[in-house]
């Protein structure tokens, strides 16, 4: 398969994730959709890496996976903290920031 097919799949996955981030209200699902966007970017990175026969794209994909793991760690911690304060777990109603 030519590289263009992989790039098309990555574009589709990225825009599906963007739609999810815009429309979903549950912060857990918003985090999942962020993962989708990161995965779309990862796929295009690996595809370009294959295109040039150069490993830099794969290293960048691994670093992106690390960043995604950190983001999940912090995001899920925030969701658990929100839930334990018995605030609504809904991104539309969580409008105020207070220390």
């Amino acid at each position: 398969m030519s590289i263009a097919w992989y790039l098309a799949v990555s574009a589709i996955v990225f825009s599906l994730g963007a739609v999810g981030v815009i429309t979903r209200r549950n912060p857990l699902v918003v985090l999942l959709c962020l993962e989708l966007m990161l995965n779309g970017a990862n796929l295009s990175l690996v595809a370009f890496s294959r295109m040039w026969g150069n490993g830099d794209g794969q290293i960048l994909a691994l670093i992106v996976m690390t960043v995604a793991a950190c983001e999940v760690c912090i995001g899920l911690g925030m969701i658990v903290a929100i839930y334990r304060r018995s605030l609504p777990v809904d991104v539309d109603e969580l409008r105020e920031l207070q220390g």
Binding site: F14, I22, N26, L32, A81, V89
Partner: protein
């Protein structure tokens, strides 16, 4: 053969992504994301990125998704506390408009990305990629990735490890016991005798911060 595998895996990738966005119960969204990630690992294998595919399955589909499942189980499904998208249709304002607007924005983004990616002047985009010969140290194998990570990308590697450490500390701080669970007056100071407890009396409920009244 690789074309057939590509279409099967690509279908899995896109179907999993659609499932994450569309399904109402967050638990099913997580399961759809697991399917998406495993199909994506197949695509990575087709692109000769063996180590990235293995890390994808082990780290993402294994560890991170287990974390998600635990949090979904802790916070509860869409029925209790954690509201799904439109359990009460018509009550929440802007549901249909939001969805339509989101679909339009996503479609515009998709068209723009496709134009940007496929309309480039890159000649190699229509090819199969660089020449590849299987071997123990070729492109994409763990030896190759490890060599790159520890020589050319050492700084990025160390920065990523520092980032992981900071994220772990941040998660502990966020999910720790303090943080407004109880008022300052109710929190009595810890007596030295409280530190000593018989073995095996610390329960899981205490560990996750459930209060005992």
């Amino acid at each position: 053969m690789s074309a057939i595998l590509f279409f099967i895996a690509g279908f899995g990738v896109i179907a999993g992504a659609v499932g994450v966005v569309v399904l109402r119960d967050p638990f099913f969204s997580v399961l759809a994301l697991v399917g998406h990630l495993i199909s994506l690992a197949v695509l990575f294998l087709l692109l000769r990125a063996e180590f990235v595919a293995a890390a994808q399955v082990v780290v993402y589909a294994g560890a991170v998704m287990v974390l998600y499942v635990f949090v979904v189980a802790y916070v509860g499904g869409s029925a209790s506390g954690l509201r799904g998208d439109d359990l009460l249709p018509g009550v929440r304002l802007g549901g249909a408009n939001l969805r339509l607007g989101g679909a339009i924005a996503g479609g515009a983004l998709l068209i723009e990305l496709l134009i940007a990616l496929l309309g480039t002047g890159l000649k190699a985009i229509g090819g199969q990629g660089a020449p590849y010969a299987p071997g123990p140290r070729t492109f994409g194998t763990p030896a190759y990735i490890g060599n790159l990570l520890l020589t050319r990308f050492l700084l990025a590697f160390e920065a990523a490890s520092l980032l992981l450490l900071i994220a772990a500390v941040g998660a502990v701080v966020l999910a720790g016991r303090r943080g407004g669970l109880e008022d300052e007056e109710q929190r009595k100071p810890l007596a030295p005798l409280d530190m000593i407890r018989p073995q095996g009396t610390g329960t899981t409920a205490e560990g996750v911060g459930v209060r005992q009244r």
